[in-house]
């Protein structure tokens, strides 16, 4: 009996199979449209378009390539309004290859970040591939 129960539990939890990765957040087309405006859009207005703006903005940074200002504006809105919940992403931007644009944006906006996050980003930036860019700011 105990053996059967154990076997059932193992079957239910999937044994050693790693957990499924979370499904990527679907990008909201209306938010992308708003962010793509040639002449800019207010971040507060963008926040009002979706229930959970931070994950939506992060998904846009990660998934949308064109036009180029869309992920950049989304990144700017994360810096401006959601810094506290985006620290991991900021560290990644200054630490990863192929994100120099995001890193430069962040370096220009370091003064806008809460002090603890700024310190964390600066520390990562000094060790990252864009350290020279950061030292020039």
């Amino acid at each position: 009996m105990n053996g059967l129960l154990l076997a059932l539990l193992v079957g239910c939890t999937g044994g050693k199979t790693p957990p499924e990765p979370a499904a990527p957040i679907e990008v909201d087309a209306a938010v992308v449209k708003a962010l793509s405006a040639h002449d800019g859009v207010d971040c507060e207005a963008v926040d009002g378009m979706v229930a959970e703006p931070q994950p939506q903005l992060l998904a846009i940074v990660q998934q949308v390539e064109r036009p180029s200002n869309v992920p950049m504006r989304a990144a700017g809105c994360l810096i401006e309004r959601h810094a506290a919940s985006s620290a991991d992403a900021f560290v990644e931007w200054v630490s990863t290859d192929n994100t120099r644009g995001l890193a430069l944006l962040l370096f220009n906006r370091l003064a806008d970040l809460p002090e603890d996050i700024r310190t964390e980003v600066e520390a990562a930036g000094r060790k990252g591939p864009y350290a020279v860019d950061m030292s020039g700011k």
């Binding site: 064109r66 180029s68 950049m72 504006r73």
Partner: protein, 379 residues
């Protein structure tokens, strides 16, 4: 009382002036008016003068337009909020009156809105406005305070520019492109490549470019013209001539990840705090900070778009899809899908239209071209 249509901007100091004859057109109802008489050098005449608002808060500029002139550009700079009130032709006809456009869903010119301490009027604006008649024109400029109350006794520094270009089907724009300090070689090259795309976009419409590049000594992050950094823009444009426009290339625009932004619609050819277009090379390059072919194309179209604003072109439809430009031949659509479909390839559409790639935005309507060719800076 005029109701402020746009965000009230902080006051600015008087402008620094470029070369040009200086008249004295101190308008006073008790004295006969002086008339500004242009003195042409080549295709362009630049005359500076001052006018003073009367007790009703309106100053009148009298401008003598000679035979052969095709258009004029009036730039007023003062201490209050300035807006054009009325324009009268030599026959006394009111060809432009602010009230005709005040509540309209169509926008003809920003010069009618008292939103800044300068105002810029181009006339004629559209092909349908007709040819410029010779004779004495009157331009009334109002000064209001932030509550919209007219202010008397206000001095307005005014520059009038006329052009005699007799060909309204071909023209060349002189452009200075100034880079912020430390701009990388990649960003410089990307910008130069984008200018070639701009040239390609304009060429079918008889619009040419004469571009000069300069290195600036200012920081990588700048504020949008009208929002700040006015002294910088005043200085940059004071160093130029009176027949060109200025594009400033920076890394980022403070708090606004835009592709580009124009100082005013239309913009002036003389020095002012808003006499620039600002483009962000970084936002055009995107998250990887490098330019690929698609980035270059969009960057070039962005420069053509922003300079289009500076020449006086509005978006054919604004982003709420319930306001339009004042041109007859641009479609008046009213939904995202409909507008993307009907106007998505237009140079002045407010959004790039993109999937994995972006559609080319290089179409201009006949009226958009006609407006661009009439701009006084298109010579």
């Amino acid at each position: 009382m005029r109701i402020l249509a746009l965000l009230v901007l902080a006051g600015c100091p008087g402008g620094a002036w470029d070369s040009g004859d200086t008249g004295d057109t101190d308008t006073d109802t008790d004295n006969p008016p002086d008339v500004v008489i242009p003195d042409f050098v080549g295709e362009l005449s630049t005359v500076q003068t001052t006018v003073t608002s009367d007790s009703s808060g309106v100053a009148t500029l009298f401008l003598e337009v000679p035979d052969g002139a095709e258009g004029f550009l009036v730039t007023g700079q003062g201490n209050g909020l300035l807006a054009v009130e009325v324009v009268r032709d030599p026959f006394g006809n009111e060809v432009l009156h602010w009230q005709d456009w005040d509540d309209s869903p169509r926008t003809l010119t920003e010069s009618l809105n008292p939103s800044a301490s300068d105002t810029v009027l181009q006339w004629p604006i559209r092909p349908e406005d007709g040819a410029l008649s010779a004779g004495t024109w009157e331009v009334e400029i109002a000064t209001v305070d932030t509550a919209g109350e007219y202010q008397g006794g206000q001095i307005i520094d005014t520059t009038v520019q006329l052009k005699t270009d007799d060909d309204l089907f071909t023209g060349t724009m002189n452009v200075e492109i100034i880079f912020s300090a430390g701009t990388s070689d990649d960003a410089f090259q990307g910008t130069q490549d984008a200018v070639e795309r701009w040239r390609e976009v304009w060429a079918p419409y008889g619009l040419g470019l004469n571009v000069q590049y300069f290195d600036g000594e200012f920081g990588t992050e700048l504020m949008a013209p009208g929002d700040g950094d006015g002294d910088l823009y005043l200085g940059l444009t004071a160093a130029g001539t009176n027949d060109n426009i200025t594009v400033v290339v920076c890394e980022t625009v403070t708090g606004l990840e835009v592709l580009g932004v124009a100082g005013s619609l239309p913009g002036t050819l003389v020095s002012s705090e808003r006499a620039v277009m600002l483009v962000s090379w970084l936002n055009n390059a995107g998250p990887d900070g490098t330019f690929d072919t698609e980035d270059i194309r969009l960057y070039g179209e962005t420069m053509a778009h922003e300079v289009g604003h500076y020449m006086g072109l509005f978006h054919p439809v604004e982003d709420g899809f319930d306001e339009w430009d004042a041109l007859d031949d641009t479609v008046e659509c009213s939904s995202v899908g409909g507008c993307d479909s009907e106007l998505g390839t237009n140079l002045m559409y407010p959004y790039p239209v993109c999937g994995t790639e972006c559609v080319a935005q290089d179409d201009m309507s006949d009226d958009q071209v006609g407006l661009s060719q009439r701009y006084t800076g298109t010579l």
